[in-house]
Assembly symmetry: C2
Homo-oligomer: 186 residues x 2
């Protein structure tokens, strides 16, 4: 049970792999990101950490809109490509087919099973990164990836990111807000 100290480092056990979509100087651009999660229930919000120097940030700042797109494991090549090259150097507008939703300026990757359309709520200057918080305007999902009105993880087959490696979701191990009913005091 003894623990050792590894020093401070940016660590989280498991993370989603998403594509941040933004129009930069009138053209759709997609960058890969893993430092993303839900930020609020009501109103629904998400957040994503973006390096200050990123091309994508220019577009978010300009339009105050962006999207988070959830790719499938089968889209790992296109997804990872968006993490290898900067939009400042290469036009990435053709990697995915862009569609627009109710905000009008947040490009979304049509091929990705789920796209989260966001309006910029706030950006927090943390140092090297901005923690970009977005109010969810709409969730767009492929009909084939939806069950009972919600995105279905088994149909989406999302990419998990952890320590420079991609994984897929494994076995279901239990129900949240239920498994703990078996707890007995030590």
């Amino acid at each position: 049970m003894e623990k050792i100290r590894l020093g401070p480092m940016p660590y989280m056990s498991v993370m989603p792999t998403v594509l941040v979509g933004a129009d930069v100087m009138g053209k759709p651009n997609y960058m890969v990101a893993a430092w993303a999660t839900v930020a609020c229930m009501a109103p629904p919000m998400v957040c994503v950490a973006i390096n200050k120097g990123r091309y994508t940030w220019k577009g978010i700042e300009e339009n105050r809109t962006f999207s988070l797109n959830v790719p499938s494991v089968s889209q790992a090549v296109e997804t990872d490509h968006c993490g290898l090259v900067s939009g400042a150097r290469e036009d990435k507008s053709g990697v995915f087919t862009s569609m627009y939703g109710i905000l009008g300026t947040a490009p979304m990757a049509a091929e990705c099973p789920v796209s989260i359309e966001c309006e910029l709520f706030e950006s927090v200057d943390c140092g090297s990164h901005l923690l970009v918080i977005g109010k969810i305007a709409e969730i767009h999902a492929m009909k084939s990836c939806v069950t009972d009105g919600k995105p279905d993880i088994r149909k989406i087959d999302p990419i998990i990111y952890a320590q420079s490696t991609y994984y897929r979701v494994g076995d279901r191990t239990g129900e949240a807000f239920s498994a703990g009913k078996k707890y007995r005091k030590r």
Copy 2:
């Protein structure tokens, strides 16, 4: 490829299951959370969304320190229990063995493979939730769960959270910043 609109809802494809540790009125308390990710690389930071009414928040506000603890799939019962009952109603200080690190007031669950010790950096009022951002003071990890100085996902066996269900990490599907090299323009 056609997408349907599901309406705004708090959604992220995959999330980590963590235990937020805080001393509340002098006693360690642990709450379960999934809305957590890395917020910054330099300095290293994490963030976690916490409902404003949570007992745990009182402790974070008071001490300006907290921890994020990563449980294994084998600890799902204790972990989920911490999400079923509030520390305001039941003393949860005995669910895990608490240890303290360099900050002195952030209790960490000794039994969890990894504990992230944090100093409160900022909390952003998003509505129902506060997005709590912490500067990482230290990463404490069980020696048996470390490879080359870093927490090892295969040894940790962390709990993924998605839509009220727990999963374990599945197969490795590729290397990040590498898989995309196979990309060819359409």
